[in-house]
Amino acid sequence: MGILEVKNVNKRFGGLQALGDVNLSVAENTCHAIIGPNGAGKSTLLNCLVGKLIPDTGSVMFDGQSVLGRSPHEINQMGISRVFQTPEIFGELSVMENMMIPCFARRDGAFRMHAYKDAGAERDIIDRAESVLEDLNMIDKREMTASSMSRGDKRRLEIAMCLAQEPRLLLLDEPTAGMARADTNNTIDLLKRIKAERDITIAIIEHDMHVVFSLADRITVLAQGTPLVEDTPDKIKGHPKVREAYLGEAA
């Protein structure tokens, strides 16, 4: 039984069957990649996991609890953090403030009216934020305004914000989309290190096969809203059905 269990999920947008009978099981402390051509339903599936969309039928269980019908912040509080395709950070705030917010969320829950305290005197929050920044080699950028950083650093910050919450499941939506090669390799190294050093399950959606094959323990191939095949990276590489549907005949 995996930490994330998706059973018979269907989602229809008007006449389009975006997801058809999707079954997926992500084992704890592994990295599970979901690949597939454009329009295969990868993002729809991800949105069903985090509460942005509600599937028409089926169930999504995280750690034995259903996530369906919960709002995104409730699902996050269950232990699922999400990294977006374009980094979603608090652009106007400093890097340190960006880091403090998830630390507050982890300590105080979805809402707490702590208007009488001084944010600069919350030692435990600051220590936690700094330790994650140090771990990700970003401590020298702590006073920078988040929006002024490079794309790669924004991605790194977003991952740092997710890690500060110590999630049990980290969802990555094309984390290297639109990145330069060097930034992509840095991100891969970072994710590899996170995987090795932390008790964390990673589910990743990605186009870049280089990224997928360097990270994933298991791969699910999605085509036209249905899982085509699920296996280890080595097997997927040579699978004729996958070559045909996804990698193209030329591959």
């Binding site: 912040h73 979603e88 702590h114 208007a115 919350e122 929050i125």
Partner: protein
């Protein structure tokens, strides 16, 4: 100091000194001189400075931090005024119950309005708040006349119950007071040609303003304040970080509504009348102007903006044609007429034109408001000073 970092503590102390010394600072010109009409150090106007300062400080907590632009905050100010005046009619002319109740009533109303309006964001939120404020205005003006006095508004009357006050038989409405200290009582200090008026009401309002300002600094620097800025920056990220933006925004809305109620209550304490005009949409727009003019999201900006607008409203609007002719009397006749004709549209009843021009200039050239202007001037001085320091071998401490 008071749990503030040194920079904020210094700002608070500077503001406190300015506020205490305002009756002197705002009266730089000797009585009877030509320039005396630019003096703003009379109680009425100084009270308005600090009361609208409170209004704008509160508005800035919503607009400056969360970015939600409410176009209906005058409603809470008006509701606060009515609540305060009813306390004065029913309970006592002591201002304390009136002010407390005005804050509470405005808080309850803003909770209801915010609850509904915050279902939408952006322009729809602004329109919803505007609709609520205009409904409040219309109700106060017509249907609710028994409570609000309709067109004539409300004033304390001789035969009001005032159950906590001792009966008065002299047929005069008692004045508002703070445990006996009448708000209208003033001491005049004459120094040479200068006359400085120290007014009890002003100092009471100023003290409340300083407390409000202190609370707003604390909110800005608190974890709650960080969350409000997160609401403005990226609600999507907030949601996916396990935070619910809704209660944060609603809390900011209620706090700013309570500030507006406090301002309304103080207005009544200083000048015992309340009318529906206070809730009209132009009054809601005015506080938006004040905040933007001073600097959205800055601590001191709203206070400066409130001061600037109230100064123009009260001083520029008093300059009439005769005064202009008097100023330019030394010029040749033809030239004098031309200059007066050129300036006249911008003063007197045309002061809105000056305000509009100033507002345009600020928005285009100083998006950070008067505060940004101040910072640029300060930076200019710093740059000028640096070469000299380098020559003399001194190093300057950064002005933090």
């Amino acid at each position: 100091m008071f749990g503030l970092n040194p920079k904020d503590a210094r700002l608070l102390i500077i503001v406190a000194i300015m506020v205490v010394a305002a009756p002197v600072l705002l009266n730089p010109f000797p009585e009877g001189s030509n320039l005396a009409q630019f003096n703003a150090g009379y109680p009425d106007l100084m009270q308005r400075f600090v009361i609208f300062g409170i209004f704008a400080i509160g508005f800035n907590i919503l607009f400056g931090l969360t970015g939600y632009l409410s176009f209906g905050h005058a409603a809470f100010l008006g509701i606060g005024s009515y609540a305060a005046i009813w306390m004065m009619k029913l309970l006592t002319m002591n201002i304390i119950p009136g002010i407390i109740v005005s804050v509470i009533v405005a808080g309850v109303f803003s909770l209801a309005v915010g609850w509904i309006s915050l279902r939408r964001s952006g322009i729809y939120f602004s329109i919803l708040t505007l609709a609520f404020a205009q409904m409040c205005y219309s109700l106060a003006y017509s249907v609710l006349t028994p409570i609000t006095g309709g067109e004539t508004g409300l004033q304390p009357k001789v035969n009001d119950p005032r159950i906590l006050d001792a009966a008065t038989n002299d047929g005069v409405v008692p004045k508002t007071n703070l445990f006996g200290l009448e708000m209208t009582s003033s001491t005049e200090i004459v120094m040479g040609g200068w006359v400085f008026t120290l007014n009890a009401g002003y100092y009471v309002a100023a003290l409340v303003m300083l407390i409000s300002f202190y609370i707003s600094i604390r909110i800005f620097r608190s974890p709650f304040g960080v969350m409000l800025r997160a609401v403005k920056s990226n609600q999507q990220r907030m949601n996916y970080t396990g935070l619910n933006p809704k209660p944060y925004t609603l809390a900011a809305f209620v706090i700013s509504g309570m500030y507006a109620g406090l301002a309304g209550g103080l207005m009544v304490a200083m000048d015992t009348q309340a009318g529906a005009d206070r809730m009209f949409w132009t009054a809601s727009g005015e506080v938006v102007l004040m905040t933007i003019l001073g600097g959205v999201g800055t601590l001191i900006g709203p206070v400066l903006g409130a001061g600037a607008i109230k100064y123009m409203e009260n001083i520029l609007s008093k300059i009439n044609k005769d005064i202009l002719h008097q100023w330019f009397a030394l010029l040749p006749d033809g030239l004098e007429d031309v200059i007066v004709a050129l300036i006249y549209p911008f003063v007197g009843k045309g002061w809105h034109l000056t305000l509009g021009l100033l507002f345009m200039l600020v928005v285009i050239f100083l998006p950070g408001g008067l505060v940004e202007g101040g910072q640029r001037i300060a930076a200019l001085f710093k740059r000028k000073r640096k070469p000299e320091d380098a020559r003399s071998g001194k190093s300057t401490e950064p002005a933090e």
